[in-house]
Amino acid sequence: MTSRHIPLEGEIRIPSGCAISGIFHKDGTRENGERIIRSIELMHDRSNGLGGGFAGYGIYPEYKDYYALHVFYLDASFQRETEDFIKEHFEIANQGEIKTRKMPEITNAPQIWRYFILPLKTKLDSSELDEREYTARCVFSINTKFDKKAAVFSSGKNMGVFKANAFPEDVGRFYMLDDYEGYAWTAHGRYPTNTPGWWGGAHPFSLLDYSIVHNGEISSYDANRRNVEMFGYKCSLMTDTEVITYIFDYLTRKEGLTLEEACDVVSAPFWSTINLMPKDKREYYTYLRKRYHALLINGPFSVILGFAGGMLVLGDRLKLRSMVVAEHGSTFYGASEESAIRLIQPELDRVWAPDAGEAVIARLEERSVRA
């Protein structure tokens, strides 16, 4: 009797419901992963054990100029081949297995490695690409080439993604996140509806320093995917998070839009609203909607986008998914539920639910560039 193959991310499109949470210190203060684990743990019932993960920013100060690749080797025999590829394209400053804790809740763990790298000068020059594009393309190559046997799941500078096929609080303890200190943390608990879950498919999803945690199921997926794929992206995981990440990457890195402008593309106001705006705003939104029509995101989502030096919270244009943000002193919080913030910071200066499609962005204050 042959068992039926249950398709994984990348083989089919995976929508899912979820919990997300984020902490951001505008003054650059760093904290370890303990509070973000507690916050996401509270929303245990919003995930189902088929995926959890974290992204921390400012966690590798000693290697802050290097791209930190986190790689799953789901089949150990692919490690050599993958490392050959990395060496072929990059100078490796440091490499080693990421430390984890043995836990009964975490099973089938792959080999998990970390590499601090910089592009080889010669290769970079001959590619005629900028450093980020070069690195991004190499990441795509590995993920495509080794097709879920080896997967790069984190590739930014001075940041790192930690994820696994389990409940998020278990994932946090598994990776011993209390040993890392960052000025920003995001977390994700996953509730996929049609996948057994696999390590590479857990969230956050990241590309370079962009990491996204996402709660929702976007109905514009294929329209968005087919558009960004024209610009060199390959949506190999077929998840919303992946395509949202690429959209932001494309709009900001390739089209040169600001993050705010990118948000106005993906969660554009309705025409009925635009028509009532003053002329310059009307022209601005009309331009964005006409020009980037295929990157409008439809359907329910709330996302926390982490990036170097900032954090963005954004919901869909109809506000079909919950999202609460809060401030306490210079610390900014965002989570699917207010309780997940109150648990770790009972006293808050301000708590609010952003409007449909409204982007809330927190950035490091100028004087606090310790990251």
């Binding site: 109905s219 997926y221 329209a223 309705f270 006409k290 029509h293």
Partner: protein
């Protein structure tokens, strides 16, 4: 030259229920083909079946429903190889030595892929959206979307759009039907409906009657191989200019408006002598290559100071994807593809029934090709050729079209009963005719309302289907192949259409 007598039984026969007939003679007065007549000596209505084209005018207007028209039951000896139509046409050709002519789209039973695609809807994980409660956006812009983001000196985004666009309230337009092939009142209905609906209609190749310049912002003016009625003012009059390279119903051949349809108004509008046949050559004689096309595109842009988007319309032929790619790189703003089931005022039946490819596969192929080449945003894609309903529109958009053209559907809304006799100039519904007493049968005051109703109804249905999919803006549907599933299609068809089979997960 006609040879001998032809013995063919009529195609249709009039069945009159004499118990119901009240001899009001409405049928007689309404039949331009002179089928019905009243014989006083026997106090009966008689019918000359041979003249009947089965346009259903008499049936529709008979106040006591005493009439029906059925296929003549007389049959040649049964033969699945040489069927009735084939034998009949062969006899006719043997008799006349002529080319078989037909109108409207092919009546043959080729697959309709729309009917083999099903649309998705949201359940649980993603809420459907109620268009009665939430905004549901169908506004569509046609034109190039390839502009690089630029910033002014103040760092702000430049929001001026370089390429002219057509703005549509709903991604449906009335396809090209020339004044001449259809009546003044049909044109007026289309123009007024387009204006009220916030969409566009298309002049076809017959020029623009002076009365309709007022609807210019809802008009696409066509430039075809005959160049009828084309002048500077005409080009500036519309919202866009369409270069007609081909027509789905008759790829590779030109057009012919018989002189009897060229009355004073048509003559003035087309700028040809009254009573003369209007012949459109098969190719544009200044376009023998893609680079020639580029010259015409830019000539038209120059002539209109780059204020009008240029559409290039082609028939869906075997190599359509590559041709569309060439057009996308020719400077055209929009490529329109007309499927082989598209309608026509008159075409050689053999061509109509045997040349070209279905629009669904043409669209999928073109869209995929443009994306592969990364030039999908260089052009908008408009398709036509047998869009029957709002679900076809939804499927077309999901398959990758920006908008659709409807021709036959719009004529049906105006009363056309698809008798496929447009070329005879005796349209009993006042649509495809230039006879004054027949033209008046189409009152544009209600004709335009029927078109408005049709498109409004479709818009409602489109919004319902979009809402069901959890989509509230048409751009999120465009090219969204995951919203489609095939049924009863083979692997190859699914591959070309770029969709999964029903039952496969998302």
């Amino acid at each position: 030259m006609e040879q001998g007598k032809i013995y063919l039984s009529p195609e249709h026969e009039i069945v009159r229920d004499n118990d119901k007939c009240i001899r009001c003679q409405v049928c007689e007065r309404q039949c331009a083909n002179k089928v019905h007549s009243y014989d006083e000596s026997i106090d009966k209505m008689l019918a000359n079946d041979e003249n009947c084209v089965n346009c259903q005018r008499c049936v529709s207007l008979c106040p006591t429903r005493a009439l029906k028209i059925r296929r003549c039951e007389n049959r040649f000896r049964e033969n699945n190889n040489w069927n009735e139509t084939k034998i009949r046409e062969l006899y006719l050709q043997a008799n006349s030595g002529g080319v078989m002519l037909g109108a409207m789209g092919t009546p043959l039973d080729y697959p309709t892929y729309w009917d083999h695609m099903l649309i998705n809807a949201s359940q649980v994980t993603n809420p459907s959206i109620d268009p009665l409660r939430e905004p549901m956006e169908t506004r569509t812009f046609l034109g190039k979307k390839n502009q690089k983001a630029e910033r002014g000196a103040d760092g702000r985004l430049v929001t001026r759009f370089n390429s002219p666009q057509i703005e549509l309230d709903v991604p449906v337009m009335f396809s090209a039907m020339s004044y001449g092939s259809i009546s003044y009142n049909a044109h007026e209905s289309l123009a007024r409906a387009a204006a009220e609906l916030g969409i566009c209609y298309n002049t076809g190749e017959g020029g623009l009657h002076e009365d309709f310049y007022q609807y210019g912002s809802n008009t696409i003016v066509q430039v075809a191989s005959g160049r009828f009625g084309v002048h500077g003012e005409y080009l500036m009059a519309g919202a866009a200019i369409e270069i007609k390279m081909g027509q789905g119903a008759k790829p590779g051949i030109g057009g012919h408006l018989p002189g009897r349809k060229v009355g004073p108004d048509v003559s003035r509008t087309r700028m040809i002598p009254e009573g003369s046949d209007a012949i459109s050559p098969a190719p544009h004689h200044d376009i023998y290559s893609i680079e020639d096309l580029r010259q015409l595109v830019y000539s038209l842009k120059e002539a209109t100071a780059y204020t009008k988007p240029v559409i290039v319309k082609i028939s869906a032929v075997h190599n359509v994807a590559a041709i569309a790619s060439g057009i996308a790189r020719s400077g055209a703003d929009i490529v329109a593809i007309d499927g082989f089931k598209g309608g026509t005022g008159a075409a050689p039946s053999r061509i109509r029934d045997n040349v070209g490819i279905p629009i669904e596969v043409a669209l999928a192929a073109v869209d995929a090709r443009l994306r592969e080449e990364g030039i999908r945003d260089e052009v908008s894609v408009v398709i036509g050729g047998s869009i029957h309903s709002s679900s076809d529109v939804v499927k077309a958009i999901a398959l990758g079209a920006d908008a659709v053209y409807i021709g036959t559907a719009s004529l049906l809304a105006l009363g056309c009963h698809l008798c496929r006799s447009c070329h005879l100039n005796k349209c009993n519904w006042g649509i495809a005719t230039q006879e004054p007493d027949l033209i008046k049968r189409l009152n544009p005051d209600w004709g335009y309302k029927r078109l408005v109703n049709l498109v409004s109804a479709w818009k409602h249905e489109i919004m319902e289907m979009m809402g069901g999919m959890g989509i509230n803006s048409i751009e999120a549907l465009r090219g969204n192949h995951l919203m489609l599933r095939g049924v009863g299609l083979n692997e190859k068809e699914l591959e070309i259409l770029g969709i999964k089979h029903a039952g496969e997960s998302i």
